[in-house]
């Protein structure tokens, strides 16, 4: 007699603990290498810093055991590893620049790391169910747009390196766009999950593609105009690309219509081309991208390709295996600890180290995508997918800018680059993804009831208009392909 025994799904928390130890050990080993290379001895505060860092992530780990036991066990260790390596590289650049402890960037970055992890803990603890966020769709919209536009206001807005994406509050600088990313992802997800039905209605067919109806073009035009505004007034190609890309991607996921992608890409190309013809700063960036080694472009005072070229030199000198931590000269590149930290890593850890890093990012994003596929509600799918995709897009825009895939922009590498706003927002994203993944991986028996005001959520369930209803949307059962569910047949 065959008996089907469902085994209690593994939470993966123990795996997470082991991976966390590996990630913290990796950072401490890197820290030790820097000390050995620069001073010839192990750094003095190594155990203190390593222990403190370990304690921070351990807190988040324990909170997960308590509040989100089924959360994806790989997200936290991967983010920890990248954050740790980033701290070491920033510390290494502090040493190269001879910054004292009080002016060192690494010490500030440690504080921001602590704040970031605390923010992730708060997200996991306070947000018991991610679906609650869909109630704040329009609050998120207002918050997101306000944050996005803040740098344009006089007094608090700051122009750094030609891009106006900073605000200054006293001695602190902040990139509100980083936080706006989360708010807008919530807004896009909440808005699209309700509007997807009308937006997926087809209009005329052209070149084998069913295009949407003209009157449904409103939202995408608004998003397009807003991102063009960012490009023109804040002079930041990266932020602009990030928001518009995020919107188009989510629009496509929500409606399942390729035509939206075609419309979006056409709008972006048109907008970017117009901006290129009209604005000098865009042309300068494109010139530096296409002809970085041209002496005229390299030596000009405005829009010089010097930073880009020095970054390329650094990466080239790293070669396959790198110079070794503390053995190269990444400090030659301006902003080596923020915009060009990818080049610093390429130089000292080589192509091998950079591959490992990019693959870590890729894995974080793909785990996020897996979460989006696994979670049962439409809002959660869009939010997890949007947050993951925004991180992928950001990595692409930054690393692609440094390696000349696309023109250089002012964004920073998540978890890695020096910058408080970026760390804070990315740890919050990890917190959100952990929360959503907990819901995605939780066995049906333990699923919490829908939050009280779930009226608007029920409408987000697959409707009759959905021409291709999906199994895991309709049936609240674990995805059969979910690798964590094991069926044993004795």
């Amino acid at each position: 007699m065959a008996v089907v025994t469902p085994i209690t799904p593994r939470t993966g928390r123990n795996v997470e603990a082991v991976l966390l130890a590996v990630a913290v050990g990796l950072a401490m080993g890197a820290w030790a290498l820097v000390g050995l290379a620069v001073d010839g001895k192990l750094p003095a505060g190594m155990l203190g810093y390593g222990g403190g860092f370990g304690l921070l992530v351990l807190c988040l780990h324990l909170v997960l055991r308590w509040r989100a036991p089924y959360a994806d066990p790989t997200l936290l260790p991967m983010a920890t590893a990248i954050n740790g390596i980033g701290l070491v590289v920033i510390h290494r650049l502090d040493l190269a620049e001879g910054r004292s402890f009080s002016e060192s960037l690494a010490s500030r970055q440690i504080i921001w790391t602590a704040l970031g992890i605390a923010a992730a803990i708060l997200v996991v603890v306070l947000l018991r169910d991610h679906r609650v966020l869909s109630r704040y769709t329009y609050v998120a919209m207002v918050a997101g747009l306000t944050l996005l536009l803040l740098p344009l206001f006089p007094i608090i807005g700051k122009n750094i390196n030609g891009a106006r994406i900073w605000i200054g509050l006293g001695p602190l600088s902040f990139q509100p766009g980083e936080i706006a990313k989360i708010a807008l992802a919530i807004f896009f997800a909440g808005y699209l999950v309700t509007a997807r039905d009308s937006l997926s209605l087809v209009g005329r067919k052209f070149l084998f593609i069913q295009f949407p109806r003209g009157r449904d073009l409103g939202p995408i035009l608004v998003a397009w105009a807003a991102s063009l505004g960012v490009l023109v007034f804040e002079r930041d190609l990266g932020t602009s690309l990030l928001f518009f890309g995020l919107f188009v991607a989510l629009l496509y996921v929500a409606t399942e219509r390729t035509s939206w992608v075609v419309v979006g890409v056409a709008l972006f190309i048109g907008g970017a081309f117009t901006a290129w013809t009209l604005f000098g700063h865009v042309q300068a960036r494109v010139d530096a991208w296409l002809h970085p080694l041209d002496p005229d472009v390299y030596n000009r005072a405005f829009g010089s390709s010097q930073q880009l070229v020095q970054g390329l030199f650094g990466m080239a000198s790293g070669g396959l295996l790198g110079t070794g931590l503390g053995e190269g000269r990444p400090d030659i590149v301006p902003y080596a600890e923020s915009d060009f930290i990818v080049a610093s890593i390429g130089e000292e850890l080589g192509l091998t180290g950079l591959f490992a890093l990019l693959i870590l990012y890729g894995l974080i994003v793909e785990r996020g995508m897996r979460t989006a596929i696994g979670v049962r509600d439409g809002f959660g799918k869009l939010l997890a997918g949007g947050l993951s995709f925004s991180m992928a897009l950001q990595c692409f825009v930054v690393a692609g800018g440094v390696t000349r895939v696309i023109p250089l922009t002012g964004l920073t590498m998540p978890f890695l680059a020096y910058g408080g706003s970026s760390l804070l927002s990315n740890w919050m994203i990890i917190g959100l993804l952990l929360r959503i993944s907990d819901s995605a991986r939780r066995p049906p028996a333990e699923q919490p009831p829908a939050p009280p005001s779930s009226d608007d959520l029920t409408t987000s369930m697959p409707a009759a208009a959905d021409d291709e209803p999906e199994l895991d949307d309709a049936v609240p059962a674990p995805d059969p392909s979910d690798d964590e569910t094991v069926v044993v047949q004795p």
């Binding site: 991607a249 929500a254 989006a372």
Partner: protein, 486 residues
């Protein structure tokens, strides 16, 4: 929504794959060409982190060495000889890169030269820090110091060669500079020191011995003209030449006067030997007209004119105007007009005559030794550059030059008990200033150990009274004495 999400995940994979491709391109495929970009300063920085080999003179006395320091460059380059060797060593600057031997032998000193390839593999296997090779120079510190002191505060240069091997025994250019100031690690101080040196009207950074602006050779060039005359077979040391007070130059109303203003001999006649001994301009102007510019140019070329030499410092080629017209040829034959020479070239003329007509290739490197086991990696062998004149002509020229020092314009170069052969020169600059004083010589005449050339700029403080025999001959004498230990 899962279908689009899966496809979006595919898009993400493509984005990351494109990053893997682009980083591979930058760090692997295109890396070599990026490394070689002129704006890439990293290659230099890489070098600073290595222990560079020393430059040694005499019995392994360092004149450039790396000492460990506690800063980002790890090693500081020190020049214990201060100013005395500044133009030979050059300096190794973190701001301006290397100059002098630091540049010319940079690959060996830094340990990146292909000659050190197998040793580098050894370092890789043993994990030892790569070290640069040490280079022993041919410079004799005793001779260098004698030349340095003899020149005093006067602007000019001294070059002393071993005529048999081409080894450079001394090479001094004044004014000099302190390379330590330029090899420091404080960028602002280095920049300030360099700015000051560049602004100095006496141009201390220029190496007057082998590079810099060249000098008119004046009468020391008469050695070349005499060599051309003797080699032509039409003249011998006893040939009688016209030596009037003034030589009428064809096609012009200009005349070429003698330095003394008077005629060179009785009845305006003089032998070739005596013409060289008293440096008779009219007789040599006449010879120049008889031989023609092409013949003299060819002879000059055989002594090394027009050749770009690396010793391994770059030596600026000296020039003789092969296309001069008749009146200019007479001027050029006595070392005026457009003749331009380095002191190194003048020393090579004397050395060629001393060595039986064979000019040896000048060279500064005695031996290259590996840092690990001090084994000799490279030891340049003496090499003949050219046969300037036949042994017979060389012998005739030597006899004439002996007369110059015995009782001609070069008596101040006499060394008791040693036969010295020499030739003076006083290169007129006209309105540009007092003449440059020249002297070139070799000794002992029967077994030459040293050939020397001395130039003292702008009269050396004596104004128009300056002459090669008076100013430069004593300097040459002191340098030769240092070599001969007399």
């Amino acid at each position: 929504m899962n279908g689009p999400l899966r496809r979006l995940a595919g898009v993400v994979a493509i984005l990351f794959a494109s990053l893997l491709a682009s980083t591979t391109w930058v760090q692997f495929v295109d890396a070599d060409s990026l490394d070689k970009q002129p704006t890439n300063s990293r290659t230099l920085y890489k070098e600073f982190g290595r222990e560079r080999g020393p430059l040694l003179v005499g019995n392994s006395t360092p004149i450039a060495q790396s000492v460990p320091v506690d800063d980002q460059y790890k090693f500081l380059r020190k020049y214990p000889g201060n100013q005395m060797y500044s133009h030979i060593t050059g300096f190794y600057s973190v701001v301006y890169g290397p100059t002098g031997m630091e540049r010319a032998a940079g690959d060996l000193l830094s340990g990146t030269s292909d000659q050190l390839f197998y040793r580098r593999i050894g370092d890789l296997l043993t994990g030892e820090e790569p070290k640069g090779a040490s280079i022993e120079l041919t410079i004799d510190p005793k001779v260098q110091s004698a030349a340095w002191k003899a020149l005093g505060d006067r602007r000019g240069a001294v070059v002393a060669l071993d005529p048999k091997t081409g080894a450079v025994l001394a090479m001094v250019s004044k004014p000099a500079f302190d390379p330590n100031q330029l090899a420091g690690h404080n960028r602002a101080e280095v920049a300030a020191a360099r700015k000051k040196l560049l602004a100095d009207p006496t141009r201390p950074l220029e190496d007057r011995a082998i590079a810099s602006r060249l000098y008119p050779p004046g009468s020391v060039f008469k050695l070349v003209t005499a060599a051309a005359a003797l080699s032509s077979g039409r003249y011998n040391p006893q040939s009688v030449l016209p030596g009037p007070a003034e030589l009428d130059l064809p096609q012009t109303s200009v005349t070429l006067p003698n330095y003394s203003g008077g005629a060179c001999g009785a009845n305006d006649k003089i032998t070739l030997t005596d013409a060289l001994r008293i440096s008779c301009n009219t007789a040599f102007g006449y010879l120049g007209l008889q031989l023609g510019p092409a013949t003299i140019a060819e002879q000059a070329q055989k002594f090394g004119f027009g050749q770009k030499l690396r010793i391994p410092l770059d030596v600026t080629p000296s020039t003789f105007p092969a296309d001069a017209n008749a009146p200019s040829t007479a001027q050029a034959a006595i070392g005026q007009y457009n003749d331009r020479v380095t002191p190194m070239q003048v020393a090579m003329v004397a050395a060629g005559i001393a060595n039986g007509g064979d000019v040896m290739r000048p060279n500064l490197i005695k031996a290259v030794r590996s840092a690990q086991d001090l084994k000799i990696i490279d030891e340049p062998q003496p090499e003949r550059l050219s046969e300037a004149v036949s042994p017979e002509v060389a012998n005739q020229l030597k006899g004439m030059m002996l007369e110059v020092v015995r009782n001609g314009t070069g008596t101040r170069a006499q060394i008791p008990g040693v036969e010295v052969a020499g030739k003076s020169g006083t290169a007129q600059q006209g309105a540009a200033g007092p003449p440059h004083a020249w002297f070139t010589a070799f000794a002992p005449a029967n077994d030459p150990q040293v050939a020397v050339a001395v130039v003292i700029e702008d009269g050396g403080g004596l104004g128009d009274a300056a002459s090669g025999g008076r100013l430069a001959a004593p300097v040459a004498q002191k340098v030769m004495r240092a070599v001969l230990d007399k």
